[in-house]
Symmetry: C2
Subunit: 288 residues, 2 copies
């Protein structure tokens, strides 16, 4: 693919294999400052991200166009991370390059009482992307095995059952033509500390800080463990996890952009053929 | 305002008054090739749009931030136009500059049977933006007085009642803190013809063409009349219409961007104060 070739220029190697969570994966062994597959620095990332954005935008339009012609495939990007890891930046700088008309962005908050009265996947199912659309989940059904596990909001047996339920759910999505891209942005505890400190230093960032952020932070090791278990148990062939070192925001953005471009490239998209007679239509138009 | 001053540089005058639909307005008298308030050419518009995007992005973030602090105001941008007028380009190039997390984009298609069994505003109400969000309606409740009138889908008396119902509805939105920005992108019949012809000439545009587009085109005068009536009867103090000459796509984009920036500027936004004690939180964070 031409698009593929253009991307390779900016990468020393395809980072996908080294980012994918395979058997034996250990979250603790990931260097959060590393930049797998990308040899450049921040200054080199700007141009790479810009070029990637143009490729992504083009592919996303073709993907959307295909759905108008009966292609029923969908993409779902799941973003999970500790606070301040840069999910918002991914949405702005990576997803934001695409046409808003083809993006379904959803930020999942703590479930409401009504939502809690249903199965945990109930509210997730309602927000799944339709054909030709890229759904972006900022937090997701994985909160139901992360914060719930750390805070002991449900019995461990209930949580334990959910990993299999999630795998079955994601297999169903895949069978239905959804490419599920699951991303954990991974920062160090020290990096989080300095990002939270910045929010307390800048009046234009005060609103992003919440005293509850420090409460959660005190559970850092328990969260890392909950992530480790979730990654182990739900990184499947149908819907693998990618853990992206995110101390360098610019790298995380490049890597997620790369995952999106890779997924769309593998779809082998093309512009839909006309489903009308072009000559006839030209004549009708001329006469109108 | 600083932002306001920066915008003025690119404009010879504020275009808002000349774009607003006031009593005595006549759609037929609008020159679709004109560029009210902007003296430059296409090449000058690029930099103006880029600078405007940065102002818009900044204001939109502040608007969103305010909602986390209890500000309940909302913005609703309604886009109406004949086919090929460039609604999609507005969404991509103007709205697309903002953070996708703060945008609710909705494209209204022909109503389903279920939707038709309700009042025409039922499906619209369900999609209204929440606090701190900018809703973007690509087509809207105005279709219920446009295509329905031209195609005689409802008795004229029913449609006639709807203008008042729309005014009451929009007054209610305004009372509830929603700034309603209603935009009609206005192109000439010849411009539409050449844009449709382009879609029939370019394989990457075939998917955007639909034989029904020519069917609708044959009703051009009736649509212009339906627009004239809608504009006359629903351009209110609470929710005025703006008719934007759109034969130059670049001008239409600048003008809609200007309307959005103007609306946000008039809100006199500022970053929310911290609702926690900064010193205490810094100490807690240090200790964490």
């Amino acid at each position: 693919m031409g698009a593929k070739a253009k991307i390779e220029k900016f990468w020393t190697g395809d980072p996908i294999d080294s980012l994918r969570v395979n058997p034996g994966f250990s979250l603790a062994d990931v260097d959060t400052t590393s930049t797998p597959g990308f040899d450049g620095k921040k200054k080199h990332s700007v141009e790479a991200l810009r070029k990637g954005a143009s490729i992504f935008r083009h592919q996303q339009e073709m993907f959307f166009a295909g759905s108008q012609d009966g292609d029923e495939r969908k993409v779902l990007l799941v973003l999970q991370a500790m606070d301040t890891s840069g999910k918002g930046g991914i949405v702005r700088h990576v997803v934001g390059a695409a046409d808003p008309q083809g993006i379904d962005h959803l930020a999942f908050k703590a479930p409401t009482k009504a939502e809690l009265s249903h199965d945990f996947l109930w509210r997730i199912r309602k927000q799944l992307p339709g054909a030709g659309r890229i759904g972006v989940f900022d937090r997701s059904h994985y909160e139901d095995v992360l914060i719930t596990r750390v805070r002991e909001l449900f019995p461990l047996e209930t949580i334990d059952e959910r990993y299999d339920e999630i795998n079955a759910f994601e297999q169903e999505l895949t069978d239905d033509g959804t490419t599920v891209i699951k991303v954990m942005l991974h920062i160090s505890s020290d990096e989080q500390k300095s990002r939270l400190a910045e929010r307390l230093d800048r009046p234009d960032k005060y609103w992003k800080y919440n005293p509850g952020d420090v409460d959660e932070r005190l559970h850092w090791p328990a969260y890392q463990e909950a992530y480790q278990v979730a990654l182990e148990r739900t990184s499947t062939t149908a819907a693998p996890w990618f853990v992206i070192p995110a101390d360098h925001k610019w790298y995380a953005r490049l890597a997620v952009q790369h995952l999106l471009i890779d997924a769309l490239t593998r779809m082998e998209l093309s512009w839909p053929e006309a489903d009308y007679d072009i000559k006839t239509e030209k004549a009708r138009l001329r006469a109108s």
